[in-house]
Symmetry: D3
């Protein structure tokens, strides 16, 4: 029997981000379980930072999903869940958005949660989406690092800044933290150790849910 495949799509065209996803999902590597494959959306912008970026990848994601007969489940690995509903419309196989999965997984770990965003300009979009999901009752607040994605990915100071912002979220009342970006995974464990509350990487959260869907499906 062939292994089932979970396809993780990075909707931006930055291959380094895709490689980061592979690293973050290495922990799920298991030759006897489903295969987790990460892939870059060629049509994507270099980063998904604006509403225009979000919209621009919806239909390319749909076409990717429709054209893929080999994957048992799909994960859209961008914290704005671009194209989630249009992809679901195009297949009966499960399609997961990492923002939704990240938040839902935080809710399985603690009473309340906060979100760390990269930039504050994403926060209104995220709140709008939180309302759409009907998941605001246990959301304490979302706060931004105010760093560029480049800084976040590379910099020494990123973890320190995440600890600072995570600490403010704890003061706000958060008892779990969602990392509001697909590219923060390598900081998950040290951030969790520093804060003393569960820290959720949304792509890892989505993969776990996809493993569940694939195993039982």
């Amino acid at each position: 029997m062939t292994r089932k495949r979970i396809l993780v799509v990075n909707p931006n065209s930055n291959e380094a981000v895709t490689q980061g996803l592979r690293d973050a999902l290495e922990c799920f590597h298991n030759p006897l379980g489903p295969e987790v494959v990460c892939r870059t959306l060629a049509e994507g912008p270099f980063g998904v930072e604006t509403q225009e970026h979000v919209e621009s990848v919806a239909l390319p994601l749909r076409r990717l999903v429709e054209g893929d007969n080999d994957s048992a489940a799909f994960i859209i690995a961008c914290y704005s869940d671009p194209g989630l509903h249009v992809c679901r419309e195009g297949t009966s196989r499960p399609v997961f958005g990492i923002a939704e999965c990240g938040v839902l997984t935080a809710l399985a770990r603690a009473d309340t949660f906060g979100v760390i965003a990269i930039k504050s300009r994403s926060i209104p979009r995220h709140y709008r989406y939180m309302r759409q999901m009907g998941l605001t009752d246990r959301l304490v607040s979302e706060r931004a690092l105010e760093m560029s994605v480049a800084e976040t990915a590379s910099g020494e100071g990123t973890l320190a800044r995440m600890i600072e912002i995570g600490g403010l979220l704890k003061v706000d009342g958060a008892r779990a933290i969602v990392m509001g970006c697909a590219g923060m995974a390598r900081h998950r464990k040290p951030l969790e150790d520093a804060l003393g509350v569960p820290v959720i990487d949304p792509t890892q959260a989505a993969v776990a849910m996809a493993i569940g869907a694939v195993a039982t499906g």
Copy 2:
């Protein structure tokens, strides 16, 4: 390196139910991944049907969790999530409740969901818990089979009745179904096939989340 263990506790003392959990979780069996172990709570009542039953297992579950140094994560396998918060208070390891995980996983699959209960007298307790979780916005309704647990486990008619009730939930507007009991798993796939919408077994949902927590932890 030794495999990490996910302990699934059946809070009732009915060993047949525990065996049913083992069968339902066979799909997660993977010698290279975490070990999923199902165990019966000796102190539990034969079934958890009343609020008194729920309360009676909270502290035994806490003691079980505190006395277990070998498991990396715990799952309380009863759709009332008895003792969830008191167990979390007693350990820094993840503790999952299957009701919470079942609902959260349904929310990752569709806009709206409905719940199939065994008996209608559980529904007020479930609604109270839904309010506590702050997860009512996308709940369409909960409807009961009005069968005994024994009938549910054994009977030929159970699947037919589940299809009937699931159909009513679809008319109510549900686009995913949560099976509101730990012992319905073997009907999941045929029910899903009959209804044409995702059907979530809550214990399977919790195990997937636990696999995620253990893999990344």
Copy 3:
């Protein structure tokens, strides 16, 4: 001084629908006020019925808005408000969605409202959007005509069917009705007369709001 222009964009490519909008907005014709211009989105599908249709017009609408230096306000005349947020991102001029304006205008007329949809398959999308807008508290229900758009536009039986569905919404508790489609305007007045409660055409509602924004801007 030249007249200010309010541009009403029909995101589908059915010119007959655009002409219907012109007819519906004739009541706002006023040579001393802003000019209301209706135009068809050439890139649109023949009808906007699916999530894919919705997504497909978002970026064409954005480009239309960005390329238009002559209009003082924009109205997206489709009851799914496709591209609303991406268009707002691209201009500081007001952009209105007819679904949002229709609902908000109903809320200015009565305590509760119901929505008449064309097809029931749109209802989950509409409810998801209602949640995103945070406007569900006074929504009683949405019910579908279950007619094709063609039938709705042409048929003799449309008004009778709308009266029937509107009557059910009144029984549900609605005290105002929103017509959940851009193409029902000619039935507004007879439907209102038959039902005895305010009936809101969403495009007309949006034009009134745009007149306010343009007049005071």
Copy 4:
């Protein structure tokens, strides 16, 4: 054909406030459109500042509405919407409250909004009314100028104070501002220019909605 009339009633007896309304609504003057007439409620208190003031004008407003056969729509121009429901009970013609219309119009312009009140003692009344309207989900906060109505109307410092308070509302997360008083209209444009987000004068918002109702009615 005679022009339809929209009657804007100032429920306080301060004729200067009524004249301010006329000035604020001059932008809607259009001899080919409906006539917007502003009038003072003779029985009103000099200002509507307390709950007692609010209650005192409800029945006089009802009698005014019932005794007026010439107006096609009514606007109650006080940010507490006194008598709104009792006036609606007395006529089948549309009756608009400016608080409701101001908030609804802000919701048509941005994801979130904040309110500028004159005095903090009005804020509990306004929040109570926001709850009644079911429109709190996108309300960020309400903050008070803590000026007297007289100061607000006359003073040089009013705009500066409004910019200061509006800036705090933006920090709170508001992306549109509602001016929570009928007498702030002349500051609308400079406040909007200073803050860079839509600023809504509630009376202007109500007039636009009334124009819509009258045009299509």
Copy 5:
């Protein structure tokens, strides 16, 4: 030491209703406790059935409260809580509305509740008030007897009709019932016996709360 007085005001001018209140509150008669005095508002309409009736008693109630130096607490004995906030503004002594107290007391007895109204035309007003109070989460539904107040007060059939409607509310999911009128008290006990769930008379509920406020004040 003189006894403290709790003044129960019937805002309609029907002395028979006031006498009914006295009968309903006889159970609180206690010469060593606070005195419960029922009184008719002379200025009230014969019945409070419309929004106009509600508004018409607000200021007379305020004057009554302000002119009364002898009562330690006030109860407005009409299920629309007319004038509640304006009376509170006029005194630092506690003022209770029976609708609010009835609902709050039901919430102290069961997870969910339903309301029996006299006429369906009151239901929108009641729902609006429920939203204002922020107490809708555990409200199941409100249903009307569709009898006249006169029929309700006198008739043989009233109890039977209340049992029928209460039964429907139980089917809806209500586990406590609020009698949505000041004049139903004599049916409370037989209705409770017939339905097998707590039935709350709102005036009795308010008096109990007033006894608490007076005793501890």
Copy 6:
């Protein structure tokens, strides 16, 4: 006729706390009314501070209620309402929780309320319970004294600290204060005098509701 008895159970085994309840309820002493009897739960922990403490008293409370044929109503005098639902399951007589009654009574006195907790670690548990009760809409915030129960009971500084925290809650917007502990009653009146808003002792609130249930039952 024998007097009806209201049994107030202190679920911790600290007899001094029970005596404090007796003192706090002295104001309800009335030989012609129901008898209010306070009693210590022998099986309780010395204080109820953790979730484990909460769970540990649920079944002992149930047994106490089931074994008591003499009381007409029960009050669980701990601000976590331990065992409330399991006790209700075991009797048809009313069972009140002081947290629920305290909050509901605050809602009968003012638009908004805040809660004073002893320790901040209880606050997440309280918020979770507020969500379960569906009573968060008018909750402004909860703030902790951060004192030990012993300090609270004895110390001179307690009232000063309560005034400080109550003042912060007023700044947050609270217009009534609930004392979030069974042992603060003797500070109720001076705190109310200092803050100028109603202050609710939850046990007194529950006794008043029980008097109502017993009188009318």
